[in-house]
């Protein structure tokens, strides 16, 4: 190893400092939001909050967590993300597996059928009307069904299955193992990495979705988290009336900040896994079979 010159070390050092500053700047919106959520009514009304809570209080959080009706929305989102992930992994792996087999000649045509959905999108209105005709308007299942199979994820899984050694499968077939058992007992158990990756892809899509619930869900009891948060941000519901009461220690601004931070927390809890498996998916996605 050649010893680095002073110039090189300086160059590297300056870049490191710039990046560290950029990373800190990137966190400012989150810090500032958290600061608002922990600040008092007076501080919020006087616009005195920057990056640190002013007159620290938990009142906004207490309100959001106990009376904000945010938990039903949270559980609707959580359950739909879980149900959707399970269904999606089932249907995607069932379809990706035969398509990964070169000897399965029909697979080629089926791939065209799949890829076409990626390059030609149905316009929003006929899409809306079709799903409405299926009875998905104002239905919990509209949070789940539209997201359980995407061409992109199918292609990633197919690419992954392609790497599975054929000898193992052939040996299993000779031993009298059927194709379904082969998939369930041999192929899937050794595909945990791709299952985790795609599970998180589907899960995050459902967790963060906004357009579908916005179009399809009118009933406030069925609001998923994102719709609920947007309603709170917009000052909807009974928040205006509540914050008008004089003796409380929160404002519309502090309550909506608490709601936004609340919605960020689950993402942060799962972040180490998200980062790890999304990166794997990005790598698999860039290699086409």
């Amino acid at each position: 190893m050649i010893k680095e010159s002073l110039k090189d070390r300086l160059f590297s050092g300056i870049i490191t400092v710039i990046l560290a500053i950029l990373a800190m700047i990137a966190m400012i919106p989150l810090l500032s939001e958290a600061a608002i959520s922990f600040s008092s009514k007076a501080a919020s009304d006087m616009n005195r909050i920057n990056l640190w809570p002013v007159e620290f209080t938990l009142d906004s959080w207490k309100y959001i967590l106990t009376k904000g009706k945010i938990w039903p929305a949270f559980f609707i989102t959580l359950s739909s993300a879980l149900a959707g992930t399970v269904l999606a992994l089932g249907i995607t792996s069932l379809m990706a597996y035969p398509l990964s087999k070169k000897k399965f000649k029909a697979g080629k045509y089926l791939m065209v059928y799949v890829v076409f959905t990626m390059i030609f999108k149905a316009p929003t209105v006929p899409y809306f009307l079709t799903l409405k005709n299926l009875g998905l308007y104002n239905s919990y299942w509209v949070l789940v069904f539209p997201h359980i199979l995407t061409a992109y994820n199918l292609i990633i899984m197919r690419t992954f299955f392609r790497q599975f050694p054929e000898e193992i499968e052939e040996a299993a077939i000779i031993d009298g193992c059927g194709h379904f058992r082969l998939l369930a007992r041999v192929v899937l158990p050794s595909s945990k990495a791709v299952l985790a990756t795609l599970g998180l892809f589907y899960g995050v899509t459902i967790w963060n979705q906004y357009q579908h619930p916005l179009m399809f869900i009118q009933d406030m009891d069925l609001y998923p988290l994102q719709l609920k948060i947007r309603q709170i941000i917009d000052g909807g519901g009974d928040f205006q009336a509540i914050t008008a009461v004089r003796h409380v220690n929160y404002t519309e601004a502090t309550l909506s900040a608490a709601a936004v931070v609340f919605a960020i927390l689950p993402i942060l809890v799962f972040y180490p896994w998200l980062q790890k498996y999304f990166a794997k998916g990005a790598m698999l996605g860039s290699v086409k079979g």
Binding site: S12, P29, T92, P123, T124, L129, Q226, A263
Partner: protein, 323 residues
């Protein structure tokens, strides 16, 4: 194909034989592969119902569609909706907004992760590098509703942006209600959400580069900057090109959720894109046929763009296109 050729030449007798042969082949194929057909069935039906039937539903763009009468009962109007569309002032406004925001996304947003990756590659302390990367990737996982909430708070009257302006002796500026500010907000929110994540692919490409080249460059006396400029950057160009071509193909798909969560009625004039317009005109106001015509125009232009740029990316980069 060959069977067809012989059958044309020698007449009916062979044709039946060939048919029988083909039948036997088909039966064998089914016998061998039936489990595969069973496996793909749910997916095939799913795509039919959730992707293809809505595509066919686009025919209402050529109708005066009413929900009560249905597709079969509604009157056909030919190209009337499209004629109306091309005479419609707002259509050109929406088209312009979509093109401008799409171009900004490619010209101003796409290069940022490339630059960040080149910079991250120069950080020697691995823990610090990982830490910085971890932090700048967080926004990628947040929904546009949340980002919209953060942006409105940051730029609102009591937000940090105006505090800084006040500290500098400037008046409050309600950025989110200003037309001239929508595009910068759009670009910065895109960078904040996506640039950190974009480094993942590029850093992986950089880590796959041959260390031998760097060593021989060092022996020749190349400094860090020179290695970045003359080795890493050129070697990264094919990956950048691939990402660029893939993105430019989906140019018109700016995403409903970003714009919808960042615009206000005061900024509609510069912010309204196809997706948001179609939502308001079609879903909210019930102009089903007209909004479908707008959407179909977008889908068809999108299809052409994707096909062209996919072809180019297969031609110019070894990694190939979407398919």
């Amino acid at each position: 194909m060959q069977e067809k050729g012989t059958e044309a030449k020698t007449g009916t007798k062979i044709k039946t034989k060939a048919d029988a042969k083909a039948n036997i082949k088909a039966v064998r194929h089914i016998k061998r592969f039936w489990p595969y057909y069973v496996m793909v069935t749910p997916g095939v039906i799913y795509l039919l119902v959730f992707r293809y039937i809505p595509m066919l539903g686009s025919v209402i763009a050529f109708q005066d569609f009413s929900v009560v009468k249905g597709i079969a009962g509604s009157d056909w109007t030919g190209w009337k909706n499209f004629q109306k569309l091309f005479q419609y002032q707002d259509f050109y406004k929406i088209l312009k907004n979509t093109v401008i925001l799409g171009a900004l996304k490619i010209l101003a947003v796409l290069p940022v992760p490339v630059l960040l990756s080149l910079m991250l590659n120069e950080v020697k302390n691995q823990k610090l590098k990982k830490g910085i990367q971890t932090v700048i990737c967080i926004p990628y996982f947040l929904s546009w509703v949340i980002i919209g909430g953060l942006v409105f708070d940051l730029f609102g009257s009591g937000g940090l942006f105006n505090h800084i302006r006040n500290a500098l002796g400037m008046k409050n500026l309600l950025v989110m209600q200003k037309e001239s500010w929508f595009r910068p907000i759009y670009v910065f929110s895109s960078i904040w959400k996506e640039a950190g994540w974009g480094t993942v692919v590029y850093l992986a490409a950089i880590s796959g580069m041959d260390p031998g080249i760097y060593e021989s460059a060092s022996i020749d006396g190349a400094g860090r900057f020179q290695k970045m400029r003359y080795i890493t950057f050129p070697l990264l160009t094919p990956t950048v090109l691939t990402m660029f071509l893939l993105n430019i193909g989906s140019f018109l798909e700016l995403g409903f959720e970003q714009v919808y969560n960042l615009y206000t009625p005061m900024t509609y004039a510069v912010a309204d894109i196809f997706d948001t317009y179609v939502y308001r005109a079609g879903i909210q106001q019930g102009q089903y046929s007209f909004a479908t015509a707008v959407g179909l125009f977008q889908s068809v232009v999108g299809l052409v763009l994707v096909v062209i740029f996919n072809h180019l990316s297969r031609k110019y980069s070894q990694e190939g296109g979407l398919w």
